[in-house]
């Protein structure tokens, strides 16, 4: 009898933990369903092509138009720009830290990189607002420095820590024998590093870049502070609006149920779609790098 009640007790506990385990799955489903259900009406009402490929966003005009091509392109250009600046710096820093730095330097710079990763995005935004934006205005003689360029630079700084950390892990996992073989054949340490270690870690480094893409495309607060936030088609020295900032900048004053708020929901869905693509790519590269 006692044995039986103990068994039931264990079963109940098991079920309890099973529910806790499945909560994450439930949450992902919930978020997906919510975004899809609330995002579809806007796309349907505006029309898929007018929405995705419309070049004009004038949500509060007398005859409103809801084209989000400027936001999509700005997000893509902004991310690309951040990668052009951030990836080389992050990559070479990671290689240096993994293969050439003394352990003391490595520890110090490692701490600095963690610190950069931990700094809140609004602090980056603030520094960008106070240093970068006036700087760009002066250097290029513009009326206002809040621009796509400023956003690209801030994003480049913000993705730097992720790129360094993930590449570093990948480079450190390269088997010592590969490098020894290369050194024994007469290659110098630098050649060994770039011709043997880096190719061996390429999946991990690719994962680092994809992670950076995800960070950059999802960043909202820092970008809203330095990009000026006008819904223009992207141009380096103009005020622009990203997908993320398009969601947040009108959310506070859109009336519930209006076409404007439906359109904002649809923008969130488009952003989510991009993120899912990036996540899939990230998983692909991470899996490949684990398999060696």
């Amino acid at each position: 009898m006692k044995q039986k009640s103990k068994q039931i007790f264990e079963k109940v506990i098991h079920g309890f933990f099973l529910i806790l385990g499945l909560i994450t799955v439930g949450l992902v489903l919930l978020i997906t369903v919510y975004l899809v259900v609330s995002g579809i009406p806007g796309i349907v009402n505006i029309g898929f092509f007018d929405f995705i490929f419309g070049k004009q966003w004038a949500s509060t005009a007398a005859e409103p138009s809801f084209g989000i091509l400027p936001f999509i392109l700005t997000s893509i250009y902004g991310t690309a720009g951040a990668l052009v600046v951030g990836v080389p710096v992050g990559f070479f820093t990671a290689v240096y830290l993994a293969k050439f730095a003394k352990s003391r330097t490595k520890e110090l710079v490692g701490a600095a990189v963690s610190l950069l990763a931990g700094i809140p995005s609004v602090v980056y935004g603030l520094v960008g607002m106070m240093v970068l934006v006036p700087g760009i205005r002066k250097v290029f003689g513009l009326p206002d420095g809040a621009s796509l360029l400023a956003a690209m630079i801030v994003l480049a700084v913000m993705i730097l820590p992720s790129i360094i950390k993930v590449s570093l892990t990948a480079l450190e996992a390269v088997p010592r024998e590969y490098e020894d073989a290369s050194l024994a054949l007469g290659a110098t340490p630098v050649e060994t590093c770039f011709r043997v270690s880096v190719p061996a870690a390429k999946s991990g480094i690719a994962a680092a870049v994809v992670l950076g893409v995800g960070r950059a495309i999802g960043e909202a607060m820092a970008v809203i502070m330095v990009s000026g936030n006008a819904p223009n088609m992207p141009s380096l020295f103009q005020s622009v609006r990203f997908l993320t900032t398009a969601v947040s900048s009108e959310m506070s004053y859109a009336t519930t149920g209006s076409l404007q708020s439906q359109a904002l929901f649809s923008i969130a869905l488009v952003l989510f779609f991009f993120i899912l693509l990036i996540n899939a790519a990230l998983n692909y590269f991470l899996k490949r790098s684990r398999e060696g």
Partner: protein, 286 residues
């Protein structure tokens, strides 16, 4: 015997070395610049009055005490919910789950969650907790949104430390006739304390730095409240307050003061994470 390297090879090596040094210096300089600039701009503006009062239009004064309290409330509320959920999920994955498919599904879900940007969390949190559940714009709604964001972190750190609890400990306890729950309670849980602490520290770091997910869930009011009253009302955390002061109000001095506090807290969080890891690593080796 040693033939000098060809010109091309020497040029290649020099170029790569130069690029590495340059990048390394840029990274180091960025970190130093961020810390030095923010602290230099912000620390001088931190006064006792700023820290200990609430904003008042009558006296033309800005105080951040409500924001400090809100931050503490939201940290407590988030951790109180996310810890049981995250630790429980990790225990399920390492101690109970036998079906590989279920494990893969849960892990994939956790990875997906950690890849979703915070603005999307804020958006879903607003629709779900504020509107659907009728919590309104409140600290509680913000905390629940942050729970979803931090769940993968707590899960992962706990899971990693659970994996380091030797299988023989569990087998020993089973051999003595303990049931699975008893083994978890007396053997497994004490063994993963470091993972739980690390998860806590990382979550606190993320909560401190979060703004996009909180702006439309917890709002940006600066009103003094007690804990339970505070949970039900709107309130800005330090980070959100910094954003509002800088972007909407143009109060850059206050913004820098808050930014320097956040910077110090970030340093503290990173430091304690490192120390905890070191402490437990040492204890494990003995």
């Amino acid at each position: 015997m040693d033939k000098p390297l060809s010109k091309r090879r020497r040029a290649y090596i020099a170029l790569m070395r130069a690029l590495m040094t340059l990048s390394f210096l840029i990274t180091a300089a960025l970190a130093v610049f961020m810390v030095a600039y923010v602290l230099a701009k912000g620390l001088p503006s931190i006064t006792w009055e700023l820290l200990s009062t609430k904003p008042s239009y009558l006296e033309d004064r800005i105080g951040i005490l409500p924001d400090i309290l809100n931050t503490i409330y939201i940290v407590i509320a988030t951790l109180a919910v996310v810890l049981p959920l995250g630790v429980g999920a990790a225990i399920y994955l390492t101690e109970y789950a036998r079906n590989k498919r279920v494990v893969a599904m849960i892990e994939y879900a956790a990875e997906t969650l950690s890849g979703i940007p915070s603005i999307i969390y804020g958006f879903v949190g607003m629709l779900f907790f504020c509107t659907y559940f009728g919590l309104g714009t409140s600290i509680m709604a913000g905390a629940l949104t942050l729970v979803i964001m931090n769940l993968p972190t707590v899960m992962r750190t706990t899971q990693e430390s659970l994996k380091t609890v030797p299988q023989s400990y569990r087998e020993g306890a089973f051999g003595l006739g303990a049931g699975r729950w008893r083994v978890i309670r007396t053997v497994v849980l004490p063994g993963c304390v470091d993972g739980i602490i690390t998860g806590c520290i990382l979550s606190v770091g993320r909560i401190l730095g979060e703004s996009a997910a909180l702006l439309y869930t917890a709002g940006f009011a600066h009103v003094l409240h007690g804990f339970f009253e505070g949970l039900g009302s709107a309130g800005a955390t330090l980070t959100v307050a910094m954003y509002v002061y800088a972007k909407e109000d143009g109060e850059f001095q206050v913004a820098f003061a808050i930014a320097s506090i956040l910077m110090l807290l970030t340093v503290l969080v990173n430091l304690s994470a490192t120390l905890v890891a070191k402490y437990y690593k040492k204890r494990r080796n003995i």
